[in-house]
């Protein structure tokens, strides 16, 4: 079976002054479908560059990246956009919700670019919001929602096109620890449902929920470790009890 993500010598270099900055250099790895991976490292380690490349927002300077066997580096811009629309879902640290649109419209937005009709969009967006536990807040605007709820809306938006891979860039960075735990529990639940998840973080406390940790430093993948993940839901239950 083809791996979900397959990179070989994946590199991203930026010209800077006289030399080049090797933001990412020579990363080769393989991730199967349905995995829960954390990309870790301090700032400037190359983890975000890695995420941008995996998310088809950027092109590698060198090397190949195959998403389910398809060589992403070769695709023209419109095909990359299609890839983002069909196969990938993004979750950002700062949520990136449209402030004037309600939760339903925010979640429905990606389906606009897939050409889905208005009613179909709204129905499906409502289902996605229900899936993340916001079934009762369809018509709240972002300003009327808490940070955790906003991130749930963003996750529903990432899910709504039924992607193969959910990419999250510091998803708990703007949230308090308890809400962060809830979000990680949601990711774990989605993973339990079969969704592949890749979380980028600098925080060991977030990475422990993944079953595989990729450690980056100075643009290199320095460690690739498999581990038994901590269950966020169990931690939450402990907190409740205490």
């Amino acid at each position: 079976m083809t791996a979900l993500i397959e990179t070989r010598d994946l590199s991203r270099h930026y010209p800077a002054g006289d030399g080049v900055v090797k933001a990412l250099d020579g990363v080769s790895l393989s991730v199967p479908g349905g995995a829960f991976v954390a990309a870790m490292g301090p700032s400037g380690s190359g983890k975000s560059t890695f995420l941008n490349l995996i998310g088809a927002l950027d092109r590698p300077t060198r090397g190949t990246y195959r998403l389910s066997g398809e060589n992403v580096a070769d695709l023209p811009p419109d095909r990359l956009a299609d890839l983002r629309a069909r196969r990938l879902g993004f979750v950002f640290q700062s949520f990136h919700l449209l402030p004037r649109a309600d939760a339903l419209a925010n979640v429905a937005l990606p389906m606009v670019y897939r050409g889905l009709g208005r009613t179909a969009r709204r129905d499906r967006a409502a289902m996605a919001l229900d899936r993340v536990g916001l079934g009762g807040r369809l018509h709240h605007r972002p300003s009327q929602l808490s940070g955790g709820q906003q991130q749930r809306v963003a996750i529903a938006r990432a899910l709504v096109n039924a992607p193969d891979l959910l990419l999250a860039d510091e998803p708990t960075g703007a949230l308090d620890s308890r809400t962060g735990l809830e979000i990680m529990a949601l990711f774990q639940a989605l993973h339990a449902g079969g969704m592949a998840v890749m979380v980028v973080t600098h925080d060991e406390a977030v990475a422990r929920f993944a079953s595989r940790i990729l450690r980056f430093s100075d643009g290199h993948l320095i460690r690739d470790e498999a581990r038994v993940p901590v269950q966020a839901a169990a931690l939450l239950a402990e907190r409740e009890a205490a």
Partner: protein, 445 residues
């Protein structure tokens, strides 16, 4: 470095062997075109414009003023042109007017018509000798006090032949014209203009009634069709027309030295004939008939009245071109305003653009969204401008008494031009938006 492919499966995670079995917990995606529907761009453009309603209105104001100015000036121009056309028609088409020439006595040159060297026979000679001429009618005009019952009115009496009505495309509104036989036999019949009818008879029917010109009784047999003002602003309906020979015998004849004299000969040239050639032939004919030596000026003056009106038309055209270019400048300024606000809008919404790109928008989709916004903004301004322009022209028509004519093609043109203005000035900002790099756009503050 090869990654260890592992599958710890700590939770009861169903390993997604099927892959497509909706891992998001949602039903499979329904079939769709895979491309954004064009109307979606309009929808999001409308939402963006209403979100900043005041700013949108102020931006559209430039286009609004430009279009309103275009509509109003074009309406005034078209109205003026229509009026001139009506005047040309009231003068009679293909009409040449021959006046007797000026006279010089002891170095003093008197004006046209002072010489009294045109006669009834000249008109007949023109008809006989110039094949290009359809009709030629001599006429003589003089002012008299006219009495009907206990009313009296000072007006112009025009004595002429029946051909005068052909030459000037004129006819009666009520009653009938006199016949050639009646004209030649000296019957005392009168055709009165609408103004005369109002002043002498008021609401009563003038047909069959008697009027007295210089104590001579005439029977009113017709009321002339209304002509309105001529290009000089004179009321062409303040007139009484009587047969030439009747006038000669009973009203204005006796004292004149030349009993066959006329002031003017109206010459109608056949449709399709060259007016300039006809005018030259006419000139040559008069030089020969009046025995004018080669080194002397013409004995008569010939004028093409529709040319005079056409000159006025041209000057009103120049004026409307001038006004329209001012309006065009206003549209240009409005367009720059649209461009400015669109650039602001793109900068403000950089993060939104980044997000849209990240969730699958193509560059073309972003371009369409911002272009739609600019075009919609300009079109709304343009449409409101059309409404205001029509209102302004009505106010001008009411208050200023100007003839205005709002034409459909002017409206379509104005709306089309404002749409194009939006397209032209919106393209650059929209392209800026579409060219943003998603990563930098997402990180934009």
């Amino acid at each position: 470095m090869n990654a260890p492919v592992r599958d710890v499966a700590p939770v009861a995670a169903p390993v997604s062997a099927a892959g497509t079995a909706a891992p998001a917990g949602l039903p499979p995606m329904p079939p769709s075109s895979g491309r954004m529907h064009p109307f979606e761009a309009l929808g999001s453009a409308f939402a963006a414009l209403t979100a900043n309603a005041l700013r949108s209105m102020l931006t559209a104001l430039g286009i609004f003023i430009g279009v309103a100015a275009v509509i109003a000036t074009v309406a005034v121009g078209a109205g003026a042109r229509q009026q001139v056309m009506q005047q040309i028609q009231s003068l009679g088409a293909n009409l040449l007017m021959v006046w007797s020439g000026s006279v010089t006595q002891g170095g003093v040159r008197l004006g046209a018509g002072q010489r009294q060297n045109l006669s009834w026979d000249d008109a007949e000679a023109i008809m006989r000798d110039l094949p290009a001429v359809e009709v030629a009618a001599g006429s003589i005009r003089q002012s008299f006090q006219v009495v009907a019952g206990n009313q009296n009115w000072s007006t112009s009496i025009l004595a002429t032949a029946i051909d005068y009505f052909v030459a000037h495309d004129w006819n009666v509104a009520e009653g009938r014209l006199f016949s050639p036989e009646e004209a030649n036999s000296g019957r005392k019949l009168a055709l009165i203009g609408a103004t005369v009818a109002e002043n002498l008879f008021g609401d009563e029917d003038p047909l069959g009634r008697e009027i007295r010109i210089r104590a001579t009784p005439f029977e009113v047999i017709g009321v002339l069709a209304r002509k309105g003002q001529n290009t000089a602003g004179q009321d062409q309906d303040d007139i009484i027309i009587i047969p030439y020979w009747t006038a000669r015998r009973s009203v204005m004849g006796a004292s004149r030295a030349n009993a066959r004299a006329v002031n003017v000969v109206s010459v109608k040239v056949h449709e399709g004939e060259d007016m300039a050639a006809a005018e030259a032939a006419l000139r040559a004919l008069f030089r020969q008939r009046h025995r004018v030596a080669a080194n002397e000026p013409d004995s008569v003056q010939i004028r093409n009245l529709s040319e005079v009106a056409a000159t006025r038309d041209a000057s009103s055209r120049t004026l409307s071109v001038l006004l329209a270019s001012v309006a065009a400048v206003s549209l240009l300024v409005g367009g720059i305003g649209v461009m400015n606000i669109m650039l602001v809008s793109v900068t403000e919404r950089t993060r939104e653009i980044g997000l849209r790109l990240a969730i699958g928008a193509r560059r073309g989709d972003i371009l369409a969204q911002f272009l739609a916004e600019a075009v919609l903004l300009a079109l709304l301004g343009g449409a409101a401008g059309v409404g205001a322009g029509i209102a302004i022209s009505h106010v001008m028509a009411e208050a200023g008494g100007w003839p205005v004519l709002v034409e459909w093609d002017a409206i379509l043109l104005a709306v089309g031009v404002s749409g194009l203005t939006g397209l032209f000035f919106g393209y650059w900002p929209a392209r800026q938006a579409a060219r943003l790099d998603p990563i930098t756009a997402l990180r934009h503050d």
